[in-house]
Symmetry: C2
């Protein structure tokens, strides 16, 4: 039974790699699906759940929310419940097994399941390029604004991670393999990475 | 024409991986050979050359040399020449091509050759275990002393690296792939890593 977690820098192609890896291995794939499930269960807006789970609890609202914001205890309790729901759901997925989970700090939350933890990263020009190619809601952003967004998203991930783990987000010690996707086509990486992961699963008797 | 550099934590099995990778790819392998060649050219003791090149220039002599030591300008000039020799030799090797070079900060020194840079690491218990298994000159060290040695060797590498590169030693951004060898058998890693490297070489048109 294999569990693969993928942590990634924004724009590094980690999500695509995760999806393709899941296909290659015949594993389940979970990313947005987790947010959707939690939003439905709590009858909440998906975007809000996503925002809250990506560290909203630990920072002020971003500028485009119009004003800075102090959390009320009720809101804090609400978001704590979202985290509890997320962790519960992650454990259910892990128990069912054979899955690739992108983000959600699953590497830390599921550590007693001994997952294979992958970190995906790239240099800034490469991340900007990828973001431009897939641009949808970010289409209006200038290169500079996009770079700021990339740094911000990763900073939030780092901050959230630091609250639940001693090993910093992106620190090699927390991962089994760290892959630099600068100038790489994600598609072509899938096979050797899958081979590496398969070997690890075998060695672990999973 | 492929150049693969391997940087590694002491005891992580990086040297073994490098050797096996070179065998697998049919590449030349250089590690101690570089020290030997420089020692011969300069008619110096190999151990001294090794010590000097591993950061001796930037620190006091270690305790087992019996006393702390202030460098004389003559000695400094001598060691600078060793570095110059090493860098020249590394460039010659890179120009000849198709080689695996372990250590020597070859990732930085050869950067204009665009090598594939691999970083190999492991957790402390795993590194201690590996050191115990291969123990020779270190046989007399207790576990605690061995751990101190591991940290010291890596600290010297880190310090040396910081003098020639903006990216810290062991920071993922400086490498194409970072491999955690904790609880792994090095032998079994060779094939998937070689596949990954081959793909990269192909994509680079090397």
């Amino acid at each position: 039974m294999g569990i693969i977690t993928i942590s990634r820098e924004f724009g590094s192609g980690g999500r695509e790699l995760g999806k393709r890896l899941a296909d290659e291995l015949g594993y389940g794939y979970y990313d947005r699906e987790i947010v959707t499930a939690i939003a439905e269960k709590n009858k909440l807006n998906e975007q809000y759940v996503s925002y809250a789970l990506e560290g909203g609890m630990f920072r002020n609202f971003p500028v485009h929310f119009g004003r800075t914001f102090s959390y009320s205890p009720a809101l804090m309790a609400g978001e704590s419940r979202l985290f509890a729901d997320q962790n519960k759901l992650l454990r259910e997925l892990a128990t069912a097994g054979n899955c690739v989970i992108v983000g959600r700090a699953a590497d830390v939350i599921l550590r007693e399941f001994r997952p294979f933890n992958l970190f995906v990263y790239a240099d800034m020009p490469s991340k900007l390029q990828r973001c431009r190619e897939r641009a949808s809601e970010d289409e209006h952003l200038s290169g500079r604004e996009m770079e700021r967004k990339i740094r911000k998203v990763d900073m939030d991930r780092k901050r959230y991670h630091s609250m639940i783990s001693d090993i910093p987000w992106g620190d090699r010690r927390g991962y089994h393999l760290c892959i630099n996707t600068t100038d790489r086509e994600i598609k072509s990486l899938v096979e050797p990475v899958a081979a590496y992961v398969r070997l690890w699963l075998e060695e672990q008797g999973q």
